[in-house]
């Protein structure tokens, strides 16, 4: 710590040193509550999970203190788990992309309304939050069920019933519906900050509407797109409620497996669950870093 000041003065900076020390003490005092919170609620559980993931599962759901890599080997070799990873990431990706494709034009539309309409429309975007998420997902079950709203309508006009519930499609619909506001809001915020004269400038310089959008508007609203994507992607990949309710037991995502490993399976397998959660975190972190690298490059 003191290495930086060492070559400068050998003798007369002892008073500076005490000052620096006192300063450091104060800084620590200020940081302590935050640090404490982070350590107790974030770092400690993480350490526990890390530890567990290398231990052996016992026959009654207990943990045997014996180092093993089996948990990780299982994760990467058993189809059940590999598929769950691939499926979760895939569902997360599709949900994010579809949300993006809906949210961007929607946010743009809202920004271009008069202030009164704008507030009303934003309010409408937020209204679903007033009802419990579980209740809203149950509502989708009623809509998609075999004798639900959609099938009744289909029947009424003489079309055959469709199996909608308990499919990947149903899970996607539920996820997109639930996550859409999280995509709309950050994109709205960045479009709201966007100076539309820049589009005129681009057009003036010979850019067609599409090129003006790609070269000017999209890069400048990328922070909103990136934030929205992360806000949608992470919770989606970890979902288990929607996939449980709208996918039946047929669409297993990571969250479903995790939940089963920790609570439902007989016996519970905490070490495997821990390994799964850790790998999951790692994959997400890498994905997000990569994503931010590629999307925010233009802005640096």
């Amino acid at each position: 710590m003191a290495t930086e000041s060492a070559p400068l003065g050998q003798a007369p900076n002892s008073s500076l040193d005490t000052l620096a020390r006192r300063e450091r003490g104060r800084l620590f005092g200020l940081l302590f509550p935050g640090l404490f919170w982070l350590i107790v609620f974030f770092a400690l559980p993480l350490v526990v999970i890390l530890l567990y993931s290398f231990l052996t599962p016992g026959p009654t759901g207990n943990v045997i203190w014996k180092f093993t890599l089996d948990n990780y080997i299982t994760l990467f070799t058993k189809d059940l788990y590999v598929n769950a990873y691939v499926r979760s990431l895939w569902i997360g990706l599709v949900t994010t992309v579809v949300c993006l494709l809906i949210a961007y034009p929607l946010a743009l539309y809202i920004v271009q309304r008069s202030p009164r309409w704008r507030n009303l429309l934003l309010f409408l975007v937020l209204i679903p939050f007033w009802t419990n998420f579980l209740v809203r997902t149950y509502a989708w079950m009623i809509i998609l069920a075999n004798n639900g709203v959609i099938n009744s309508l289909l029947q009424a006009v003489g079309l055959p019933r469709q199996t909608l519930l308990n499919t990947t499609g149903a899970v996607l619909v539920g996820l997109i519906y639930g996550e859409l506001p999280f995509m709309v809001l950050p994109i709205y915020a960045s479009i709201d900050r966007f100076d539309f004269t820049l589009l005129e400038a681009a057009s003036d310089l010979g850019a067609s509407r599409a090129r003006a959008f790609l070269r000017v508007m999209l890069p400048l609203t990328m922070p909103g797109v990136a934030a929205g994507s992360v806000l949608v992607f992470i919770p989606t990949v970890g979902q288990f409620v929607v996939s449980d309710l709208l996918g039946g037991a047929k669409v297993d995502m990571l969250g479903n497996l995790l939940q089963r490993l920790f609570t439902r399976s007989n016996p519970p397998n905490w070490p495997l669950g821990s390994a799964m959660a850790l790998v999951f975190m790692l994959v997400l972190t890498v994905a997000i870093i990569f994503y931010f690298r590629t999307t925010t490059e233009e802005d640096r």
Partner: protein, 366 residues
């Protein structure tokens, strides 16, 4: 195409809801000229410019660029570029990328882009600034990047909407000179919007004075200042005294006006008039004379006056005199002699004679 018109606006109307932002405007802008649109806020300058750029389409009327109608051609297909008041530089691109943008859109070969960008930056004295971001530049430098970004495309017409509005006074004066020099060098037609009359007078070959969506007068700076064609123009450009009255006699260009309170004035006709018309006689304050003695060779406009107020402003003395019963009249005298003697200047309450040659007074309608 050196002669002929770069831009012709034929009977252009632009309506927003029930506002006539531009109201039957007809203008011809010559190739290679520095043309200014001047007028008070909301008179339709920006709207006119935006129609030439293609950001708005006229409600009716026709716009020609080099003789070709461009009514509803989209902006990216017009060889016209704009310098925006807010500059509208792309913040996520470097200065060089900003300048290169238009050339890239036109698919100009890479090496040529590099060369032309360098040339353009050179022209606005920003050599070596290519790698910077717009936000790392001062206002004046950003302004010059905006200029370079537009000029690099070699447009037929360059549109400038109050480009100096955001600069402080000193920088503004410098940029006025620089802009004018640049225009002379590149020979491109500039259409320059401003509400600063001094700026318009110093820079323009010709000026269009606008008010409430209409063009009142188009002319050279001297024509606009010396021969305004209506009271609004005389009032908006520079300062002027207006004496209200009625035409009592007409003799060729020589008009006699009486104000109904005993004043009879003679002035020049600049637009068709008839006896009995309500008019204003307009006299610029620097074009009237004030003397202690009655001039030996009395001109046809000579009035005894009382000094009401005196303002010494260094280069000039501005004297407000009372003419007739209730008419106040502003006279500016240049302080051509250096003295600190108070008596050398006019004093409040002093009597004197106010006079001007008939050609210095213009008879204008409202």
């Amino acid at each position: 195409m050196k002669d002929g018109y770069a831009i012709e606006m034929r009977d252009i109307v632009k309506r927003f809801g029930d506002v006539n932002a531009v109201d039957h405007v007809t203008m011809e802008i010559r190739n290679g000229e520095f043309f200014s649109m001047l007028g008070p806020s909301g008179c339709g300058k920006t709207t006119s410019l935006r129609m030439i750029a293609g950001f708005e389409y006229p409600t009716s009327g026709e716009i020609y660029l080099n003789g070709t109608s461009i009514g509803t051609t989209p902006p990216f297909q017009r060889n016209v570029n704009t310098v925006f008041q807010s500059y509208a530089l792309f913040p996520h691109m470097s200065v060089a990328e900003n300048v290169a943008f238009g050339l890239q859109m036109k698919k100009v070969p890479r090496e040529e882009i590099g060369r032309r960008v360098d040339e353009a930056l050179d022209m606005v004295r920003l050599t070596g600034y290519g790698e910077r971001r717009p936000r790392q530049l001062s206002g004046g430098q950003q302004q010059r990047v905006a200029l370079a970004r537009a000029l690099v495309n070699r447009p037929d017409v360059l549109l400038l909407d109050e480009p100096l509005g955001a600069l402080d006074l000193k920088l503004r004066k410098e940029m006025q000179i620089e802009l004018k020099r640049l225009q002379e060098r590149v020979g491109i037609t500039f259409i320059f919007v401003t509400h600063d009359q001094e700026e318009a007078l110093t820079m323009s070959d010709r000026i269009a004075v606008m008010s409430e969506g209409k063009v009142l007068q188009v002319g050279t700076p001297t024509e606009i200042y010396e021969r305004p064609n209506c009271r609004f123009v005389a009032d908006f450009i520079g300062e002027s005294n207006f004496i209200r009255g009625q035409v009592s006699a007409l003799n060729a260009n020589d008009v006699t006006v009486t104000d109904g309170k005993g004043l009879t004035l003679r002035g020049q006709m600049v637009q068709p008039l008839q006896v009995g018309d309500d008019v204003y006689v307009s006299i610029r304050p620097e074009k009237a004379r004030l003397s202690v003695q009655r001039p030996s060779e009395p001109p046809n406009n000579l009035f005894p006056v009382t000094v009401d107020r005196v303002a010494y402003i260094g280069s000039d003395t501005r004297i407000m005199v009372q003419l007739g019963q209730d008419q106040l009249f502003d006279v500016w005298e240049q302080n051509t002699r250096s003295t600190v003697d108070r008596d050398a200047y006019w004093q409040r309450g002093e009597q004197g004679f106010l006079w001007w040659p008939a050609e210095n007074a213009l008879v204008l309608k409202d």
